[in-house]
Subunit: 342 residues, 2 copies
C-alpha cells in the first residue's frame, strides 16, 4: 500500500537496515550511501510509519495533555490555548506530537488517561491543572509513568516535577499592593477550592492581611464559578455587607469579567467605588472596559517549561524531580486606584 523502508532499500540497492540507519542518521553509514538512500526516499515519497517505529522502539514521540472536564466552565478559559501554545512550541522543536484527553466527567477523563498510558499512546503526560486529591496523578505515580504538572501537586510535590508560579507570594504581594493603595477592606473572590492554585492564592492573601494587622474576615472570602449567575450572587453579598470591601482580589481574569459586569449592573463604578485586581493576564483582559489590572503569570512559559521538563523526564528517567518557578508580574491597567477618601 504505502511505501515502506523495503521499497526504498530495493530502489537504493541496499538493505532495509541501512535505510533505517540513514533515517536515524547513524554515523556508521557513509555519506555516499546516505545520499543514495535519501534520493530514493525522495523519489518514492517515503515517510516512516510511526506505529511501526513506536512498536520497535518502545517510544511514541507523542505527549499527552490532560485537561479539566470539558463540561467545566474552566475549560473555556483562554488560559488553556495559551498554555498549549507553550507546550506545542517545544513539542514541535523536538518533533513530538500532542495527544489530547478530555471528557465530560471525571471518570471519562480518567479512563482516557488510562488508555493513553496503558495503550502506550504517549511517552509522557502534562497535567494542565492541579487539584486536591487527584486520582489521575495518583495513578500516574503508581504506574511510574513520566509526567509533569502545571501548578503545585497537592501532595508528594517534592517527587513530582512541576511548573508553577509562586502563587502564595504573588497573592501576598498583590494584596500588599492593594493595601499600599490605602485599601483596608479587601475581598477575595476565588474559584474552585479543589484547585491547588486557589488555595495557594488564598493563603497568600491571608498572610498579607494578617501581616498588615488587618482583620481577616470570612465574609470577605467568596468562591464561585466565573459565570454570571454564580458570580452575581457572590458580588451582591459582598456589597451588601455593613462594611463592603473597597477592593477585590479576583483569582482569574475571566471571573473578573463576570464581577465587572455585575458591578456595572449594580451601578458600582470600577475603580472609583471599588478596585479590582486579578490573575493570569489572559489576552482578553485588556479588552474589557475598564481594562483589567492583572498579574501576568506567563502562561506561555508555564506550558513551555512543563513540556520541557517532561521531555527531560522521558529522556533521563533517573533524573530527580524538580520545581520550576515561573516569575509573575503585575500589569497595571485601569481597575485599581487609591482608596477614595470619604
Amino acid at each position: 500500500m504505502s511505501v515502506t523502508i523495503k521499497d526504498v532499500a530495493k530502489l537504493a540497492d541496499v538493505a532495509p537496515s541501512t535505510v533505517s540507519r540513514v533515517i536515524a542518521n547513524n554515523p556508521r553509514i557513509s555519506e555516499k550511501t546516505k545520499r543514495k538512500v535519501k534520493e530514493a526516499m525522495d523519489y518514492l515519497g517515503y515517510h516512516p510509519n510511526f506505529n511501526a517505529r513506536s512498536l520497535a522502539n518502545r517510544s511514541t514521540q507523542a505527549i499527552g495533555l490532560v485537561m479539566p472536564s470539558s463540561a467545566d466552565k474552566a475549560f473555556q478559559n483562554p488560559f488553556f490555548p495559551e498554555v498549549i501554545r507553550g507546550i506545542s512550541t517545544i513539542a514541535h522543536e523536538q518533533e513530538y506530537a500532542l495527544y489530547m484527553s478530555t471528557g465530560n466527567t471525571e471518570d471519562e477523563i480518567f479512563e482516557g488517561v488510562v488508555r493513553m498510558v496503558q495503550g502506550r499512546r504517549v511517552d509522557g503526560i502534562v497535567m494542565l491543572y492541579s487539584r486536591v486529591d487527584d486520582r489521575i496523578m495518583c495513578y500516574l505515580q503508581e504506574q511510574k509513568f513520566p509526567f509533569t504538572v502545571i501548578g503545585k501537586p497537592f501532595k508528594n510535590a517534592e517527587s513530582i516535577t512541576h511548573i508553577d508560579n509562586d502563587n502564595f507570594k504573588a497573592a501576598q504581594e498583590m494584596t500588599e499592593y492593594l493595601i499600599s493603595l490605602g485599601h483596608e477592606r479587601i475581598g477575595f473572590v476565588g474559584g474552585n477550592l479543589n484547585l491547588v492554585v486557589t488555595i495557594d492564592r488564598l493563603l497568600g492573601y491571608e498572610k498579607a492581611i494578617r501581616n498588615a494587622g488587618l482583620p481577616y474576615k470570612d465574609e470577605y472570602i467568596v468562591h464561585e464559578e466565573f459565570l454570571k449567575e454564580g458570580g452575581q450572587e457572590a458580588v451582591k453579598e459582598l456589597l451588601a455587607l455593613k462594611e463592603p470591601p473597597s477592593a477585590l482580589l479576583v483569582i482569574d481574569d475571566v471571573m473578573s469579567f463576570g464581577v465587572l459586569s455585575t458591578l456595572n449592573e449594580l451601578g458600582v463604578t470600577v475603580p472609583d467605588d471599588i478596585s479590582l485586581l486579578s490573575f493570569n493576564n489572559v489576552m482578553l483582559s485588556e479588552l474589557s472596559s475598564p481594562s483589567l489590572s492583572s498579574v501576568d503569570i506567563n502562561i506561555f512559559k508555564l506550558g513551555y517549561e512543563a513540556a520541557k521538563g517532561l521531555l527531560e523526564c522521558i529522556q533521563c528517567p533517573e533524573k530527580e524531580a524538580k520545581r520550576v518557578v515561573v516569575p509573575f508580574q503585575l500589569i497595571e491597567r485601569q481597575t485599581c486606584s487609591k482608596v477614595s477618601e470619604k
Copy 2:
C-alpha cells in the same frame, strides 16, 4: 515488560489469536472461553498496545485536529475549546483519541499535518477552520485522506464533507434585523479576509443592504484583527465618517469585546449611540457590559457533527460527501436597540 496478549493466552490456556478475538468480541468464540480469557485479562491487568494494533490493523483509532496558527490571535478564541468539546464528545463515544496539530507558522502546521498523515498517526482529520486557497486542504484531497471541515471549503465544496452554518443567510438576517430596528447606516466589522466565514458573512450583509435599497458603502466595511490596537483604529475611522454608522455587525464576539472597549474609551454609549451585533455567542459574551447580543451558531454542534461526519467517512470511504448545516439563533441581550431619533 508490560503484559501482552501472549501472557494472557498462557494464563487462560488458549492461543494468542483467541485472546485477540475476545478483544474484538468475535462471535466465533464461545461464551465460556470469553469469560475465561477476560478473567485472565483482569487478573494480569492487560491493556492492548495501540501501536501494535494499529500496525496490524492499519487503523489508529485517532483523529487529528488542525487548528489555525497558534501565533494567530484567533487561536485564543473560546470558539476552539467549545468546538473541541463537541468533537471530543463523539470521539469518546466511539473510543477515538484526539491528536492535535498546531504550529507557529503556516509551514509548521503544514508539516505537522504531513507527519500525521504519512506517519499514519490518525485515521482522519477535522479542519477547524476554512480559509481561502488552503494548502492543507489541497494536500488532503490529493492524498485522498479522510477529512471534514468546519466551515465551507473555498473550492470543491461539493466533494468535501463540511459542517457549516448558513453564514450568508445568518448575516443577511441579522442585517435585516438591524434594519428592522430602524438602522440605515450599518457598518461591518470583519476579521481575516482569508477566512471563508468572513466572506460569506460579508456577502450576506451586502445582500441585505442592497435588498433594502440602502447604499452599500465601502467605508462602512472594515477588517481587523480583534486585538485592541487594530480594532481601535478601525472603530475610530468608522466614527470619524461624516455619516458614521448607527449599528455595527461584528464578525466575532471577541472582536466585539475590543470594539466595545474602544467605544467606551471614546465616550460612545452602546446601545444608545450605536448598536452592536456579533456572531458566535461564546460563553464570554454575556460577561461584558453591556452583554453582547450575538448569534448563537451552535459551536458545540459544529464540532460534534464534524467529528461524526469524519467517522462516517472513515468507516465507509465510498460514501458521498455531504454538507451539514447547523442552525443559528439570535440571542438578544443588551447591545442592540432601535435607532435613536435625532
